[in-house]
């Protein structure tokens, strides 16, 4: 009964119901969303990983890659080193480690001598005025009794993700190609791919494999069946390694099936006795802080949505892939890595169906602990939900509760305001002014708010175009210009609108309502696709829920100016380009490099993060700023 009376009390207090309650709810949602995320690393909310697909049988086979294969490894390596020495100018200390035609020819000749089918593919991408071109070399071991329906890909890029020479990785792949050819147990074709770099090459190859390549990428002359999995090997130094670092993030925050990751962990750790790391967490002591940090790093990578390695390009085509990077100085040699790859290939070879059993949406906090989408999704959903709650509350408020000024100065004020508006607008549009307004649905004037919000979203296409198409050296200038433009645009917008159209107070609420509605809608949809991006944008947009036009009737002029200037300052600190600068400063990265990379991601990898930034976040931000601006200019 106490509850019932409390509800009754709320219902009889419209000001609380329409003005305070949504703010409280929104705030609770945001806090709950953040707290939820912070709870995830606890044992009660996360789970131990497990192999879901029984066919994988990780580590159940003996890996035979050892013994004299190492002699051949050394032979191949000397051969490649010879090519590198040959292409180095006289008197130069370091090798010219570019992927020249000589290197390509050597790799091809080794593969051909082994009896594989070899082909090449040229590609050329242009992004931000920089041309990326190269030649992929690849070879196929045809499954002895197979019929080209399924295949596994093994990638060894000539340059690693950090742009180091991956000589050991490439040599190991060549040795494995020769070794795998002897086995008759392959049920799937094995494709060995040698792209010249870790950024564009794999993308060009996989696009062409599905016949989706752009004009400057050659089609593939040689193909196999549906790709079932991909492995990337990186071994960029000469000494022995200590542990394997597993990269798994794909483009746009897509992830490989958790089973593939688990298989790799199970084989490296369980069968081979090699330590594993993820997300560059070298000293993971399984404490709460370390787990949270791992999750955060994973979320940052997922949120930015860029390709973290050659494996990332496979993900959009629903091909699960991971990168194995050797790290540290220890006592594991290339043969240990070779056995790991052999065992992984054997596991993938066992697959009867495409990897589908385990999770595609997860956050990893340790090599053997994860949270699945059902557990973490509410976090981003709550944050996205806060905008929706506020938007719906504002919509109701514009319809049922004209505004807080009613409480203090009823009827007359309202009538005067409406009559002034009616003079400027068409008579039909005028809201019916009634003494007993709280009991009636007030007619909403939708034209201005709708036009404004829609045009702001369309306006987002302009910075989207600019930031993906200008030459790279102009990116810092463009960033600073956009900060300035972002400062001026909302003020200009509010000044113009308040002097030309003199919007009704209700319309300010409607502008905010629509803007937040779209934001909430986008973010909650995005949360299911790319949780991290939705979460991050949601947090950065959180102030937008609580920023209003300050009513000139209730607040004195100086206070209003001080408040709105403060709010504008806060919002400008949270504008997309300023956040970009802050992130660059935090990670010690160069703005030009970051933006060039982003444009490359847009052009080559098909990264959608910019679209979210410029067409979802930015319009909502401008609308919020404009609302604050209105309180400066409206009389």
């Amino acid at each position: 009964m106490a509850l019932k009376s409390a509800i009754r009390k709320v219902r009889s207090n419209p000001h609380f119901l329409f003005v305070h309650l949504p703010h409280i709810l929104s705030f609770i949602c945001i806090v709950a969303g953040v707290v939820w995320l912070l709870l995830l690393p606890l044992n009660d909310y996360s789970r131990q990983t497990y192999i879901s697909e029984n066919a994988l049988l990780p580590g159940q086979v003996h890996a035979y890659f050892s013994g004299s294969e190492q002699h051949i490894f050394r032979g191949y390596k000397k051969e490649l080193e010879g090519v590198l020495e040959g292409q180095t100018a006289e008197g130069q200390e370091a090798w010219n480690d570019a992927f020249t035609p000589a290197v390509s020819d050597k790799i091809q000749s080794i593969l051909k001598a082994t009896g594989l089918k070899v082909a090449t593919q040229n590609y050329e991408y242009t992004s931000s005025g920089i041309t990326h071109q190269g030649q992929n070399v690849y070879a196929i071991i045809q499954a002895p009794r197979g019929d080209a329906t399924e295949a596994i890909v093994l990638v060894a890029a000539w340059k690693t993700v950090e742009d180091e020479l991956n000589l050991n990785g490439v040599t190991l792949a060549l040795t494995l190609a020769r070794y795998f050819k002897r086995w008759s147990l392959w049920s799937k074709d094995i494709i060995f791919l040698f792209p010249p770099d870790s950024k564009a090459g794999t993308q060009a190859w996989i696009d062409a494999y599905h016949d989706m390549q752009p004009a400057f990428v050659q089609p593939l002359p040689l193909k196999s069946g549906a790709l079932q999995g991909g492995l990337v090997i990186e071994y960029p130094f000469d000494h022995r390694f200590e542990s394997l670092h597993i990269l798994y993030d794909g483009v746009n925050g897509q992830l490989p099936n958790l089973d593939l990751f688990n298989t790799a962990i199970s084989i490296t750790g369980g069968q081979m006795g090699i330590g594993t790391n993820l997300q560059e967490m070298w000293d993971h002591d399984d404490s709460y802080e370390m787990r949270l940090q791992t999750i955060m790093r994973g979320m940052v990578k997922q949120g930015f949505g860029y390709a973290t390695g050659p494996h990332s390009s496979f993900m959009p085509y629903h091909i699960d892939a991971i990168t194995l990077q050797t790290k540290g100085e220890g006592w594991q040699d290339e043969m240990a890595l070779g056995r790991t790859v052999e065992s992984l290939c054997r596991s993938l070879n066992n697959l009867l169906e495409h990897l589908h059993q385990s999770f595609f949406f997860y956050l990893l906090m340790q090599t053997n602990r994860f949270v699945s989408i059902g557990t973490y999704l509410p976090s981003a959903m709550l944050i996205a939900g806060n905008f929706t709650i506020m938007a719906i509350a504002l919509w109701l408020r514009t319809g049922y509760y004209p505004g807080s000024q009613q409480a203090s100065k009823p009827t007359e004020e309202q009538v005067t305001t409406t009559t002034t508006t009616t003079e400027k607008h068409d008579d039909k549009q005028a809201p019916p002014a009634k003494a007993d307004a709280s009991n009636n649905i007030i007619e909403r004037q939708l034209a201005l708010p709708l036009t404004l919000v829609v045009s702001l979203h369309l306006l987002g296409l302009i910075p989207l175009y600019i930031f993906n198409n200008i030459p790279h050296q102009y990116y810092p200038t463009a960033t600073y210009t956009s900060i300035l433009a972002n400062f001026i645009l909302p003020l200009l917008l509010s000044a113009t609108l308040s002097h030309t159209l003199t919007p009704h107070p209700q319309q300010y609420h409607l502008i905010k309502s629509f803007s937040l509605l779209i934001l909430g809608l986008f973010l909650s949809t995005l949360a299911t696709l790319n949780f991290s991006l939705s979460f991050m944008v949601g947090l950065l947009c959180a102030p937008l829920s609580f920023i209003h036009r300050i009513n000139p009737q209730t607040t004195s002029r100086p206070l209003r100016y001080i408040l709105s200037t403060l709010a504008l300052a806060l919002l400008n600190v949270l504008s997309p380009p300023v956040v970009l600068l802050a992130v660059c400063w935090y990670f010690g990265a160069d703005v030009e490099t970051v933006l060039t990379q982003a444009a490359f991601g847009w052009d080559v990898w098909g990264v959608w993060t910019q679209v979210v930034v410029w067409c979802v976040w930015w319009p909502a931000w401008v609308a919020g700023c404009a609302l604050v601006g209105f309180s400066l200019f409206s009389s």
Partner: protein, 593 residues
């Protein structure tokens, strides 16, 4: 095609016409080492039965089990194929028997059935597939109406049939069928010597199904060398391509472990060559092998049922300069072509054949394939896809005419209007051209959901020295959940396309090429636990949302008002109107109740 290349075929064809007329049972084995340490072994078994004794169910060389099925199913001509792996035409040259004795991956069956109409033919066809399914331990009974087509131009009658018969051609494939020993055993049982003697004694399931490529065929057709003298001819073949290295591995130690380092063949000329660094040297000499090593057993003498003992059932195609050691007693005859030699067999005396490793200067010439074809599924996603077929004509001067035949399962819905063609010359320039430039004629029979698949037959011409790419888009149907197989996420097999090249150079028989089979991923529901969880939570959310939404939007009225609203009398309706009017004037006061 060179003259040399034809010899294989001509030799066989000549023998075939010769034996079919004079003898009742004949068998032969033809061995040819192929590049990349492979060995083609082609077994052939032919038997005859006069039409009269066949009709009287008096079987001598014709297998009774098969004969009774054919009679029961009114089948006049039967072609059954079991194939695994792919023929590597690039390295191995043209296919054995010009592809006429192989099928697509899995099982392929086509037959001419004598029936008054299509329905009767279909009924007999079902009888035939069900019976053969039992006979060959294969899932042939899954060839239902959705997998059956009636090709128009792709297959021709092999035998001589009376003009009065009303024959119906039916064709079915099972691309996903795994061919294994359970199919070989019934196959061998059809032979008169049943794998106990003769060349068939070499056929061991372990070795046969370790081959890189393998095809078994059964062909039955009536042959009338002279009017009024007719035979029912059964022709069985087993063609395998064995990997010599792999087959020579002992059965007790089949794992290809790394060789001991002192046995590595290294290129010692490399400057860095040392104890622990080795650049592998690929051997250039021809591999040595023997029948015992390759097949794991010896050939246990000639089959006594072959009526002419002076025949030479084992033939080997290696350069004459190569040394061949055979069991004493067997007589070797060298053919004048410089490459072929044949051996006679003694009854019930084991026969072995050994070829030592040897450096050779001459190699058996291999032809260029007349046409190479590749078919792949392109695009990605669960909804749409595309088919891409690439035809490459390597000949510099001759264009190639052929019939392209494909059957698509009904859940793959092609858009034939999207059929596009492009041509790439040897200069690498690709240009779009209308598909009609290459397609002379087309026969298209659209699919009916759950009843029959799409049938597409195109008569095409590919100009010399060019590569033609055909593409069309398709849509993937969504199946009912019971229609998914247990391994739904593997994808669905699409049968290989069949290409029939018109007989050239005066040959009687057309050349057949088959593409590889395809795997089509369909939109698959998640049949697992999370799926159930999602379903359950969605239901709970829907229930919660429904009831709350209901509470929010419902207008609460008093019982009298409600009865007035629902009353159908004039007074009641009037009362209802008044209540509604009052609500409109007063706003939603009723809600405040």
């Amino acid at each position: 095609m060179t003259v040399l290349s034809l010899l294989t075929l001509l030799f066989v064809v000549a023998l075939s016409s010769f034996t079919s007329a004079t003898s009742d049972y004949h068998e032969s084995l033809y061995l040819q080492p192929l590049p990349q340490s492979s060995l083609l072994a082609s077994f052939n078994f032919r038997g005859n039965e006069s039409q009269k004794s066949f009709d009287e169910r008096h079987f001598r060389y014709f297998p009774r089990a098969l004969g009774q099925i054919l009679q029961h199913a009114n089948t006049k001509e039967l072609h059954l194929r079991f194939t695994t792996g792919r023929w590597d035409a690039e390295s191995w040259g043209p296919r054995p028997w010009n592809g006429s004795k192989e099928g697509g991956t899995g099982v392929e069956l086509w037959a001419w059935i004598d029936a008054p109409n299509d329905e009767a033919a279909s009924a007999k066809w079902i009888t035939l597939t069900q019976s053969l399914s039992g006979l060959f331990c294969a899932s042939l009974n899954f060839i239902d109406s959705t997998r059956t087509t009636r090709p128009v131009a792709s297959f021709e009658l092999m035998g001589d049939h009376p003009a009065s018969s009303n024959l119906h051609l039916l064709h079915g494939t099972l691309p996903g069928e795994v061919v294994c020993t359970e199919n070989l055993t019934p196959f061998l049982k059809l032979l008169p010597c049943k794998g106990k003697a003769g060349v068939s004694s070499l056929l061991d399931g372990h070795k046969l199904f370790d081959a890189s490529w393998q095809s078994m065929s059964v062909d039955v057709s009536p042959v009338c060398p002279q009017p009024g003298e007719c035979y029912v001819h059964v022709d069985q073949t087993v063609d395998i391509v064995l990997d010599i290295d792999r087959s020579k591995r002992p059965r007790g130690n089949p794992i290809p472990r790394p060789v001991p380092s002192d046995q590595l063949a290294c290129d010692t000329s490399k400057p860095y060559h040392s104890e622990d660094t080795c650049y592998p040297l690929e051997s250039t000499s021809e591999k040595g092998w023997s029948l015992t090593e390759i097949f794991g057993r010896t050939l246990s003498g000639a089959c006594p049922l072959t009526d002419n003992a002076s025949q030479e059932p084992v033939c080997l195609r290696v350069p004459h300069e190569r040394e061949v050691i055979v069991t004493p007693g067997a007589v070797e005859t060298k053919r004048p072509d410089g490459f072929t030699r044949c051996f006679t067999l003694e009854p019930s005396t084991p026969f072995d054949l050994t070829i030592p490793e040897q450096e050779v200067t001459t190699h058996v010439p291999l032809d260029e394939p007349v046409l190479s074809a590749e078919r792949t599924i392109v695009g990605h996603g669960q909804e749409r896809g595309g088919m891409r077929i690439i035809f490459d004509n390597p000949s510099a001067s001759n264009s190639v005419d052929f019939i392209y035949f494909e059957t698509l399962p009904w859940f793959l819905r092609p858009y034939v209007h999207t059929l596009q063609a492009s041509i790439t010359g040897r200069d690498g320039l690709r240009q779009q051209v209308p598909a009609s430039q290459f397609i002379r004629e087309s026969f298209y029979r659209p699919a009916i959901d759950r009843e029959r698949g799409t049938q597409l037959e195109l008569a095409m011409t590919i100009p010399p020295a060019s590569t033609v790419t055909l593409t069309y888009d398709f849509e993937k149907a969504i199946l009912r959940y019971t229609e998914y197989p247990p391994d739904a996420n593997r994808g669905f097999n699409v049968a290989p396309a069949v290409i029939k090249l018109d007989a050239a150079n005066g040959q009687n028989h057309p050349i057949y090429i088959r593409t590889t089979s395809l795997l089509l991923p369909l939109p698959t529901p998640d049949f697992s636990m999370p799926y159930n969880v999602i379903i359950l939570t969605s239901t709970v959310v829907a229930l919660a949302f429904g009831s709350i939404f209901n509470l929010l939007v419902r207008r609460f009225v008093t019982a009298e008002e409600a009865s007035a609203l629902t009353a159908q009398t004039l007074k009641g309706r009037l009362g209802g109107k008044i209540v509604a009017l009052r609500d409109r004037i007063k706003g939603k006061t009723a809600k405040k109740e």
